[in-house]
Amino acid sequence: MHNTWVIFRRELASYFATPLAYVFIVIFLVLAGALTFFLGNFFDRGQDDLVSFFSFHPWLYLVFIPALSMRLWAEERKSGTIELFLTLPVSLSAAVLGKFFAAWAFAGIALILTFPFWITANILGSPDNGVILASYIGSFLMAGGYLAIGSALSALTKNQVIAFVLTAAVCFLFTVSGSTVVLGFLQNWAPAGVQDSVASFSFYSHFNAILRGVIDLRDAVFFVSVMALFLYANAVIVDLTKAD
């Protein structure tokens, strides 16, 4: 527990050690804004909610999260610091969790900094702030799911670019698996059970369920299980690949 905290602090500080973190947050905010106002028609919709803001988050995260997670393990392996890190008296689980929570906290900070949208909506109308809070929590949980995937895949390679591409690809699959395109493709030949389970892996549908304003236990459990599963895989992958 103590070690997870020490690692968490080091990792989070290392995001801010270079200007990259600030550039990153600015790009995230600009993109979030652009998508909300231009593609989401925030003003023209004439509704006082933040649906046009949140509904782009899965797509935003497809770019943003792999860029956050790519360095987690790939960089340690590339620079050899993994040998130093894993010969300190820390357990592998503390190492994996400390890094993951740092990246997740960074994503959380970026998310919190979108508060001007919330203020704007409250000035222009009287939105249901309960729904907005639920949406923020849902978005944060979804970011955690993507990050766990990214962290695990980052341990597969020493090359951060490969980690980025791999993570973006896998996250894309997890996002679109509930879309009509994928389900339509499966419809004609796959058994209903397969279709249902593919659909149930979709981050998009679980997130959309939360956007309706209710955090259903099933949706929360889904994201938490994705995190647990991929962080476990993360530890296994680190153990297998650290030697080379």
């Binding site: 103590h2 070690n3 020490v6 690692i7 080091r10 500080a13 290392s14 050690a17 270079t18 620079s79 050899g80 610091t81 040998e83 130093l84 894993l86 010969t87 300190l88 008296p89 820390v90 357990s91 650290k242 030697a243």
Partner: protein, 313 residues
């Protein structure tokens, strides 16, 4: 007392390649063990297994009573480790990095600061505390790695090529440091610089192709050299029959002309176990050769190293 480092039948395979093959040795407090071998001999792999970075395929290492396989965290607490190339987080400052190491090793507050001070003084890092590690020179980076390994005053120090890439002054500093630390610790250093073994090690082992091939004090190893007790003779004038005359001495095995940086001369090799220096001096005096220099060789580690590690032809 049990040895502080006890390596038992350690084996590590990477797929079909056996990098470390049934290696056993132990190191006591006060010993500095030189770990020698050609590149790719399994030195680094052995160290990675002892420090708990890699799991062994077979066998184990016991550090101060804690088994690295069964009880890795307890064992790691006793170890200060400098990995090959002294990796450190490049975006951190020297002080930030040492604070991180102190915290993760469970020190806080004044205790942590005192330990950091001590390690910084020992490795002369005072001037670069606020500098980020990626701006440091190679020598400083190496010292940051050493400071990190010394921070918790470990019983066991494992240093993978601690002087690699340093200039002669820096090498000397690191060796002095190791010698200072030696009495209270068990130390393993890996190196392929043989002079280092003479300079700091109380014992040396030689590995090649994953196997432990020799284990002894540096002088024991030198005694295995064919140069051990050989006499080097430099004759300044004409003495055409010197070689033949020397060969007739009862203790002499062979005589070879040498011509190297020291100049030209004759290398006189003794028969196994003979000391020939007095025979040679007597002969030189009777024959009246003009002598420019004469020296008894202690034996050469690099001879032994080559003889032991050369792949069987």
């Amino acid at each position: 007392m049990d040895a502080m480092i006890d390596v038992r039948h350690l084996t590590r395979r990477f797929g079909p390649v056996t990098a470390v093959n049934d290696v056993s040795f132990s190191v006591d407090r006060g010993e500095v063990l030189g770990f020698l071998g050609p590149n790719g001999a399994g030195k680094s792999t052995t160290m990675k297994v002892i420090t708990g970075f890699l799991a062994p395929t077979g066998g184990t290492a016991v550090i101060c009573g804690a088994d690295i396989v069964e009880n890795p965290i307890a064992a790691k607490r006793h170890i200060g480790y400098l990995p090959e190339g002294a990796p450190a987080y490049p975006d951190m400052t020297t002080l930030g990095f040492l604070r991180f190491i102190a915290r993760i090793r469970g020190f806080s507050g004044a205790d942590a600061e005192r330990r950091i001070d001590l390690a910084v003084n020992r490795t002369a890092l005072g001037g670069v505390l606020a500098q980020s590690i990626d701006t440091l020179s190679k020598g400083f980076k190496r010292r940051v790695g050493l400071a990190q390994a010394l921070l918790h005053d470990p019983d066991v120090l494992i240093l993978d090529e601690p002087t690699d890439g340093l200039d002669p002054n820096q090498k000397h500093e690191v060796r002095t440091l190791i010698t200072e630390l030696a009495p209270s610790k068990a130390i393993i250093i890996s190196t392929h610089i043989l002079e280092e073994v003479d300079a700091v090690c109380t014992r040396a082992i030689i590995v090649a192709q994953g196997r432990l091939l020799a284990d002894g004090t540096p002088s024991q190893l030198e005694a295995r050299s064919r140069h051990h007790n050989a006499v080097r003779l430099a004759i300044s004038g004409e003495a055409p029959d010197a070689a033949t005359a020397l060969l007739r001495l009862p203790g002499v095995q062979s005589v070879e002309p040498v011509d190297d940086a020291e100049g030209a001369g004759l290398m006189i090799f003794p028969r196994e176990g003979h000391a020939i220096v007095s025979e040679v001096t007597d002969l030189v005096r009777t024959a009246g050769w003009p002598i420019a220099g004469m020296r008894v060789e202690r034996g050469r580690l690099d001879d032994v190293f080559r003889a032991i590690t050369a792949p069987a032809a």
